[in-house]
Amino acid sequence: MSNEATSGAASAAGVTGNAGTRFALAASRGAVNFTLGLVVLAILWSIGGSMIAANPKTANFAGFGLMPTLQAFPELWNLGKLQAAAYASGYRLGSGLIIAVLIGVPVGIIMGRVEWFRKLTHSPFQLLRMISPLSWMPIAVFVFKAWDDSIVFLIAFASVWPVIYQTAAGLSKVDPAWFKVARNLGATPLQMLTQIILPAISFDIVTGIRLALGVAWVVLVPAELLGVTSGLGYAIKDARETLSYDHLTAMVLTIGIIGYALDTVCAQLIKKFSWHRGDA
């Protein structure tokens, strides 16, 4: 038998060693960039805050500065406001996203596999997708008894589209021969779904969830400015009305931190699920 069957094993260890060194270098560069970027932002914020505090006309708004904001965190934490607001928003965001994924993934798979369904749904989906999610608020409030449910509906409605279209796009890129091979090897329709389709498009599904998360997070805060008495959006409104500007910016910063953390988790999941070379 030929030598080509045994030609690559020896080089595998060397490649792994080099890859390890490259990974360590990339990780340390990433940590430096991460820290440096935040330091630059903090300096700019500090300068802006100092200028606001130094000017008698704007001195009342000194709470927007970096240091008052950072000092507000322990206070908000001890009062339990931060945790309560984050929990309420997290519950709404999570519920909306789960609904979006439960609807979006199957619909996206059908769109990717069934041509007539894709053609039939094109115009209504595009029409609905282009409507600003917040414009559904009056109808949602009318339909759902609780404000919470209305917000969950808005988040689900806003975030279902990236999941649907990313899933469908992922499926359209799948090599049709994979299905033929699986059928040839005796795969049932369920096995085709769980062992071929879902692993093949898991990267695209998680990418869709990441995009959906961004949309959901953007919709969540303005939705919470209306009606509800909990959540990060409400906490911002409440802080503004009580003129607690340090609390207001602390809540805004919290939104950024949580959003960033969730996006990072999604990015890590994308790396984990990606089998495409060069994505990691």
Partner: protein, 276 residues
């Protein structure tokens, strides 16, 4: 691993891609003995790949029947497995997972599955690559994984649709030799669809020549050469010339019927191409 081949009986087989279109072929008759290696050669468009897909149960014939050991074939089965022109491996799986995917579909216990996969990998000499990503393999190694993925099912019939045409000459030659020797060692049938006359001579017990549109079986030639077969062997060269001549005759007869279509042989690639 020991496999029993099948007796194949194809009667009155016909296929149309659409109800109003011309038939790809019609009233096709073909038999194969248990454990026989059959090569189907012919120019593009004569329906040989379609015939292979129908035999594999991936397409349904519009007329006629296919029987393996007297039982009608009416769909895909792990007893008759197809290898395609490209390996079409699942890139998110390791080599061993790709090889064992058919057994996983069949619900085999992990231990037995692992033993069978190891055995198949030994047969194709990739036993050291079980935990490697298939994306790290060469084209030839990937096609060996696809072969192991087929062999692990212990098929009675292995169908090959120009499986080595995308490979370099050296890899192709080694795989042609290995597939035939494994098939003969284990006892399963082979049906190989190919443009390559040399491939038919090196791998088959019998060559079937298809030509025309709709496709017809124009000739059948017993190759009957001893193993191992070497390309430069005078007997192999003589059989190659005989097949080439039969191919020309078939193409001329079919071409005459269709108004001047002529087949020519590309002497560099030693494959048959068609010029209208």
């Amino acid at each position: 691993m020991s496999i029993r081949g099948v007796e194949i009986n194809i009667q009155g087989l016909g296929y149309r891609y659409s109800s109003r279109g011309n038939p790809t072929f019609s009233n096709l008759k073909l038999q194969a003995r248990r454990g026989e290696a059959l090569a189907i050669i012919g120019r593009s468009g004569c329906g040989k790949s379609t015939l292979l897909h129908i035999v594999a149960g991936l397409n349904r014939p519009t007329e006629g029947t296919i029987e393996f050991d007297g039982k009608k074939v009416d769909g895909p089965s792990s007893r008759w497995v197809m290898m395609f022109q490209a390996p079409h491996l699942y890139p998110w799986m390791k080599v061993s997972q790709n090889v064992g995917v058919g057994l996983k579909f069949a619900g085999w216990p992990e231990k037995e599955k692992s033993e069978r996969v190891d055995e198949a990998l030994r047969l194709v000499e990739l036993q050291d690559y079980a935990d490697v990503s298939v994306q790290d393999l060469s084209g030839g190694q990937q096609q060996r994984v696809a072969l192991a993925r087929s062999l692990v099912m212990e098929p009675e019939l292995l169908l090959l649709d120009e499986p080595f045409s995308a490979l370099d000459a050296f890899t192709r030659a080694s795989l042609q030799r290995d597939v035939r020797s494994i098939a003969k060692k284990l006892g399963f049938n082979l049906i190989i669809v190919t443009h390559d006359i040399d491939e038919a001579v090196l791998m088959a017990d019998r060559a079937v020549i298809m030509a025309g549109a709709p496709g017809k079986i124009m000739d059948e030639i017993e190759v009957g050469l001893p193993d191992p077969r070497q390309r430069q062997d005078p007997a192999v060269q003589a059989m190659r010339s005989r097949l080439m001549e039969a191919f020309h005759t078939a193409a001329q007869v079919a071409g005459g019927a269709k108004g001047g279509t002529e087949a020519e042989v590309d002497t560099e690639t030693e494959s048959v191409t068609q010029h209208a």
